[in-house]
Amino acid sequence: MKSRIAIALVVACAFSGALGAAWGLQPRALAQDEQQASEGQSVWDGVYTEEQARRGEALYQKDCSTCHGDRLNGTGEAPALSGGGFLSNWNGLTVGDLFERIRKTMPQDKPERLTRQEKADVLAYILSFNKFPAGKSELRHQSEWLKQIQFEESKPEREKPSQP
């Protein structure tokens, strides 16, 4: 009985594999960010897109600039979000740490006014303003992914694996 079930399962898997191949579905290759996450990623690896940063800029000017300044320069007690002090303050932490702070407490009067996705877009704009490079994939809004991205104020010297 057991061996018949086992044979049936093997046949079913082979069949679905064949079907999959017939429909053009290949075994899924890792997306670029997933690949880089497994290798160790930082803000220097192009972790947001320019389009996302443009969306983020509009949101920033509407909901963040009142306290953090038009040019991310800070006002009163809301600190600057660009420049040496800001970079120093987050250096050694992850993009996820910064995202969590924004997610839980910003905008200060009503954090729920922006969605997770919108906050990721604002963060993309902040990264862009600070001259970290843009890339092909958007900055995700799941904290567990963002925690894989190291926030490094200086570009790390790292051997890039040679491309095939």
């Binding site: 300044g69 040019r71 007690e77 040496g84 002090g85 200060q108 009067d109 009503k110 200086s154």
Partner: protein, 687 residues
Amino acid sequence: MDYIKGCRVNCAWLWIVAVLIGTPLHVVGQHQARETEWPTYAADLAGTRYRPLDQINASNFNDLEIAWRFKTENLGNRPEYKLEGTPLMVNGVLYATAGSRRAAIALDAATGELLWVHGEHEGARGAAAPRQLSGRGLAYWSDGKDERILYVTPGFRLICLDARTGTRIPTFGEGGAVDLKLNDDQTIEPDLTTGEIGIQSAPVVAKDTIIIGAAFREGFTPRSMRNNKGYVRGFDVRTGKRLWIFHTIPKKGEFGYDTWLNSSAEYTGNTGVWTQVTADEQLGLVYLAVESPTGDFYGGHRPGNDLFGETLVCVDLKTGQRKWHFQLVHHPLWDMDISSAPILADITVDGKPVKAVAQPSKQGFLYVFDRVTGKPVWPIKEQPVAVGNVPGEWYSPTQPIPSKPPAYSRNGVSRDDLIDFTPELREKAKAIAAKYRLGPVFTPPSVSQLNGPLGTLTMGTASGGTNWPGGSYDPETHIAYLYACNSCLEPVGLVQPPKEVSDMRYVYGTAGQEVKAIHGPGENAGADAPMPPKKKAASDYVQLNVDGLPLVKPPYGTITAINLDKGEIVWQIAHGETPDLVRKHPALHGLNIPRTGQESYTVGTLVTKTLVIAGESQVTTTAEHPRGAMLRAYDKVTGKEVGAVYMPGPESGSPMTYMVNGKQYIVIAVSGGAYSGEYIAYALPSE
């Protein structure tokens, strides 16, 4: 007493037993604090932040370990990143405010175990409060039997709790609460829910009287020249009944009313006492440090000297009647709020004993007076100062400047203050500074102009010098210890705001940049308020740094020891590790730069029998420690660093110390950046 007379032998035993237990039967009046306790925000009513404890000393400070820790994340509907409290410790229990709820908590002082928590849910009134988050602390009172905790909520209500259980005492006020927006000799506008008034400092109880001031929004960009007023009140600790009120802006017919020309005392507001109050119970006197009137940098709508704005006022503890006053800044224009507790010090000057009060300030002056008469201990002379030309403004031709002690932090800006690590950096700094008006203390603000000056570049204003954490004082040696921000630059330019932002002629701003209301921490940004139409900025924003480095040269933050018998500075050191961005800057590669100290306005000092202790409010990553901030100890005689222990995040509230079960603890509030609020207790390792 008949009972006592009728039972001589038994009562003798009763007395012996009572003495052995340590509970004198004859105790009346307030709780007599032991040296091992910390019964009020600043250690004592004199504001000394001093305890004569020495178990933790230079020989073992480096051995300190975290004894217990208490996170404040869930004391509110979101975590808090600005925990500013200094807890109290009485009878083995630690009391503090904490969390975005500004909850009151009681912890076991030896283990940090939560004993009780109390929170007030204030709805819209709390959300509209000008000063939110957990504030700076609370007050304890006892008559030997009854023990009470008193604190003020963000929505400006005075709450009285049973210290043993954390429940409201029903016989106090209305069911344990006094609505501070009522019975304030004014109608709080526009209504009780949204009317702007609140407080973040800890209340103080002196001889059964609770003393409460008032605070408002940040004053850089007021919505109006009109605002609610910040009177000071005394309340009965048992009943919550209002005992007295002091009008910091005089009413018609009261002394000082005519120092507000054109009847501007009628509509001008603010001018509250938002910082800590000190009191001399023996003399029956209270010392009030008053803030700026409406409009931190523009006073055209309140011509005249504006008493009692930026004035040190002494009032009677029982009646609130003014005994003496001294205005530190006439017609305030520099946001020189008197920001910290007036320190009561019994000193000896030229061989004569003086009961003094020493007032630290943002402007780096320590003003010292006889606290009975108000007479300055050393001459404070009216000096002529520059007069400005902002349209509609009124200027005082002189300002009082102490002759002694010398200024302990920078209060003007000159080219000599600019960064000088290298000639190239100095040249770049000069080019930036050339866009501003420079000058010594009391150089007036300027209208911001596109082609320059963009404003007056200042230090010793807004966040300069000593701020709300205040100073410390050693009553044994007569030395005051003052942390100061020595590099808190504030460019003060004035612009004409659109009507929807303010009805004032001028508010703080920069020419060519959109005028935006400046908000303080935790302030409601008014989600439904109409935003002014967006204009493209006509000018590039000028960064007040040189390639990321501070525009001015170090030291960025200092601790100064001042001998109050002589009015002299004994020592001054840079407090705080050199910031990472300075240490690692490519332009400074190869240079040997001494420790620069850190720019901050949240650092407070603690003085013990041998040490001055203060934490860092910036994180750094060095060879000595991974990413974090250090709690540092200095020899109080020499200022030499004798120890430092690691904190996982920056300090955000002043440290305190106490002893329980023969063990000394230091507790400090840590929060900021990625680190949500936590009280951390340090102690020596157990034997």
